[in-house]
């Protein structure tokens, strides 16, 4: 990401084009300064680490969403998918009953397998059913959500084995060399995501597909496989986010993951990925997710706006981000 910053300075003519890549970083900087001015507690290591940790789930999911959106698709089902995956994972752990590492590993595998399958389902319906991804994932969003409500019988699904909970806790609350594990997880996911999107032919194919499906097809890009894979990647990212999320509360409820799709898509758009496809910015997405959490944090630390309005502010941010994107696009 520093590379693009440097290039912009060196080459003025590319300024408007690179604005797309640069603007999330500028926004982040402005927010940090604003936060520091509003509340002296803001710029403490513990507060900042806390903010980034809390943004981890959305960041991980949003890395997957970057693939889907850069490829010209959309996935609205991620929040419900996360809830369903968390619910099934906990039920699996409870049914296995053990308190050992093996049980936990099986539960984790089940979670990843389930979310990948959910993504596969989205992908297959979109590609082979030739239905708008908006409609398909709106449908599966309802399906996944009601499945988790049904599994929980309207209540809460909680991890029953106390040993297992204790063993699993550090995945959210622990840290390595002072860096919380969720942050490490999301940096690793983002790094792998960036590597796949920028350096592999699959990543190039995703961008081509999102730029113009016909051109991709006429160029011999296996568009069905590429598109389906983007949804599977989205599913796997949801699964990873769930692995980090479950130890936080040790339970899943019908409201788990509510509005995560809004936050994930917002993070992607803030990050500079084009909603119409063809441009993907993994690191921008990560910054976008952090920005969302920063805004929430600043709202809590200040007294300007009630923190209950966080959702409203985040909703406003996605609209503003789109307006900015369009003016940047026009400026070319």
């Amino acid at each position: 990401m520093t590379e693009s910053v440097l290039r912009t300075g060196a080459e003025k003519r590319r300024f408007s084009i690179d604005m797309r890549a640069l603007s999330p970083f500028i926004a982040l900087l402005v927010l940090v300064i604003a936060g520091a001015l509003i509340n002296p507690d803001f710029l403490t290591t513990s507060n900042l680490l806390n903010v980034v940790t809390r943004s981890a789930f959305i960041a991980i999911i949003a890395v997957g969403a970057t693939f889907v959106i850069a490829g010209g698709g959309l996935d609205l089902s991620v929040g419900s998918m996360a809830a369903l995956t968390a619910g099934v994972m906990i039920l699996t752990l409870n049914n296995l009953g053990g308190g050992d590492l093996g049980t936990l590993a099986i539960g984790m595998l089940v979670a990843i397998a389930l979310s990948a399958t959910c993504g596969l389902a989205n992908g297959l319906i979109v590609t082979f059913g030739r239905i708008e991804p908006f409609i398909v994932t709106l449908g599966t969003m309802g399906i996944f959500r009601s499945l988790v409500i049904w599994l929980a019988a309207g209540g809460t699904i909680t991890m029953r084995n106390f040993d297992l909970r204790e063993m699993y806790r550090p995945v959210y609350f622990g840290s390595i060399f002072g860096i919380p594990i969720p942050i490490i997880a999301f940096l690793v996911v983002a790094a792998i995501g960036a590597l796949i999107l920028y350096r592999t032919s699959f990543g190039r194919h995703v961008v081509a597909l999102g730029s113009n499906e016909d051109v991709a097809r006429y160029s011999g890009v296996p568009i069905w496989r590429v598109r389906t894979l983007t949804y599977i990647i989205q599913g796997i990212c949801v699964g990873i986010a769930v692995l980090v999320y479950v130890p936080r509360l040790g339970s899943a409820t019908p409201t788990t993951g509510l509005l995560w799709e809004l936050q994930a898509i917002t993070a992607v758009v803030i990050g500079g990925t084009a909603l119409r496809g063809g441009i993907g910015r993994v690191w921008g997405t990560v910054v976008g997710a952090v920005i969302l959490e920063l805004v929430a944090n600043i709202m809590v630390l200040s007294n300007f706006v009630s923190e209950f309005l966080v959702g409203a502010v985040q909703g406003a941010i996605i609209i503003i981000a789109m307006l900015v994107q369009r003016s940047v696009h026009r400026g070319r």
Binding site: D214, V215, G220
Partner: protein, 506 residues
């Protein structure tokens, strides 16, 4: 006679780049004034200034002798200057009548008066000599009919000057002939017609005066009398253009490389058979809509269809373009902007897209190898680009075509199918593309050229297969290649008759 619209030393700059400098032009009522020039010569910019889409940086416009500035295209239209755009700008889901009156609906008691609009539409279409149903949805019209609707829409407002921007680019000879009839009618009514084209034969046929632009400068304005297409080309390019087509390589063999039998593409091709030989350039002629594009899209797996395809004596079937490429067949779409290149991506990404596996080391793309390939492509194909990091959409039509050629040649094909290789390409680049196609055949590859430009088929190909209404109507051997023989197969009538038929329907 006094001019109706006069431009006096018009200049236009975009930032530091001057695209027009000191252009003067006067248009008289009742004349057809052609503006010709290579792509990038500034024709379209001039047209956009004259029709109020762009303000000039320097210089003035005079309308009926009075200095005038247009605040925008609507203002220019209200003063009688209309532009018929090159691209089709119609709402496909609306009917013909709805499109004609879009944004200027006839109202009665505050509601749209469909009956009145339908009547006016029918009248104006009749005047243009066409029987298009005003209630038909535009998406169900042929490209030629859409163009007519677009012309009708332009002519709906009272007009003194009508500007056509490459109107025949998508028309067949017969359709073009009816368009000329319309233009002659306008001229007879005392309208000044501005006609932009780079089809010089057309200009010779329709224009009264010709203005030549080159690199944003005014080169000459001449009466059409005594100005032959070859001389126009020389003025446009600035050098002698008598040798547009290269020698046909003597590599055409009778070794069958690809043979297609009874190919059927539902809705487009009823039955087509042909054989392609090693080292030959095989032309495919016919009217637009004859099924040529669809036939080849189906052969390379881009469109459902069935038939017997034999490659090197073995029967093959391609499910998608990837499989066809693996077998050494590439298809370059006529729709460069929609199906050929990613306009929003840079040259490097476009270049390597079809042959990406050649640039992959292990799991990762080798950016350095891509850059090297781009260097080589820019050199080999003479792709003229101000900067290497431009987006494909920022290249001119000719350079886009060269980039598309470079991209597909990375696949190292044995059979190259090029659909309308020089559509929207200026004459200097045309020559380069022709030479390139000839060199492909000389290297022993087989080339299929699908083209609606008769001269191109005659000048370039060893043989020409002509299609009509989804069937192969016949084949013209090298010795018999002539416009008349192709038109006859394409339409079923000889060329002189074609003009008469067009005149009859007008």
């Amino acid at each position: 006679m006094d001019s109706v619209l006069r431009a006096e030393s018009i200049s236009k700059s975009f930032g530091p780049i001057e695209v027009l400098s000191g252009i003067s032009l006067d248009l008289k009522p009742g004349e057809v004034h052609a503006v010709i020039g290579e792509n990038g010569a500034g024709k379209s910019t001039l047209m956009r200034i004259l029709s109020g889409h762009l303000p000039p940086t320097k210089g003035t416009l005079h309308l009926n002798g009075q200095p005038v500035t247009f605040s925008g295209p609507v203002d220019a239209e209200s003063q009688g200057i209309v532009l018929v755009h090159q691209e089709i700008l119609l709402a496909p889901d609306l009917t013909v009548a709805q499109n004609l009156f879009l944004g200027r609906e006839i109202r009665r008691f505050g509601l749209v008066d469909d009956a009145a609009m339908r009547e006016r539409t029918r009248a104006i279409l009749q005047e243009l000599g066409t029987k298009i149903d005003p209630d038909r949805e535009v998406r169900r019209l042929s490209i030629a009919d859409r163009q007519l609707v677009q012309i009708a829409r332009a002519l709906l407002v009272p007009h003194k000057v009508v500007a056509f921007d490459e109107p025949t680019a998508v028309l067949t000879p017969i359709e073009a002939e009816s368009l000329f009839e319309i233009i002659r009618k306008l001229r007879a009514q005392g309208v000044a017609v501005l006609y932009i084209s780079h089809r010089l034969n057309e200009v010779k046929a329709i224009a009264d005066r010709v203005t030549v632009l080159r690199d944003g400068r005014h080169i000459a304005t001449r009466d059409i009398e005594g100005l032959e297409p070859l001389e126009m080309a020389r003025l446009m390019v600035g050098r002698d253009m008598s040798k547009l087509y290269p020698e046909k390589p003597e590599t055409a063999s009778d070794q069958a490389l690809l043979s297609v039998r009874d190919m059927v593409v539902p809705g487009f091709v009823e039955s087509a058979s042909f054989t392609l030989h090693r080292g030959e350039i095989l032309g495919f002629g016919g009217l637009i809509g004859a099924g040529r594009t669809e036939l080849f899209e189906s052969i390379v797996g881009l469109r459902p269809g069935h038939g017997t395809i034999t490659l090197d004596g073995k029967q093959v079937h391609f499910r998608d373009a990837r499989e066809a490429m693996a077998a050494g067949i590439v298809y370059l779409s006529e729709d460069r902007k929609g199906k050929g290149l990613l306009l929003q991506q840079n040259l490097r990404i476009n270049l390597s897209l079809a042959a990406l596996e050649k640039f992959t080391r292990g799991s990762f793309i080798d950016g350095g190898a891509e850059e090297q390939a781009l260097d080589k492509a820019i050199k080999d194909f003479d792709i003229r680009t101000r900067r290497r990091d431009l987006l494909a959409g920022q290249l001119s039509g000719g350079n886009q075509q060269k980039l598309l050629l470079a991209k597909m040649m990375l696949v190292e094909p044995r059979i190259v199918i090029i659909d309308e290789p020089t559509r929207g390409v200026d004459i200097g680049t045309k020559e380069q593309i022709y030479r390139f196609i000839a060199s492909l055949a000389a290297e022993g590859r087989a080339v299929v050229v699908i083209s609606s430009e008769m001269q191109e088929l005659i000048g370039l190909c060893h043989r020409v297969v002509v299609m009509r209404n989804g069937r192969v109507a016949g084949e013209v051997a090298q010795a018999d290649l002539s416009e008349d023989s192709i038109v006859y197969l394409a339409t079923g009538v000889h060329e002189e008759r074609a003009a008469e038929i067009a005149a009859g329907t007008a």
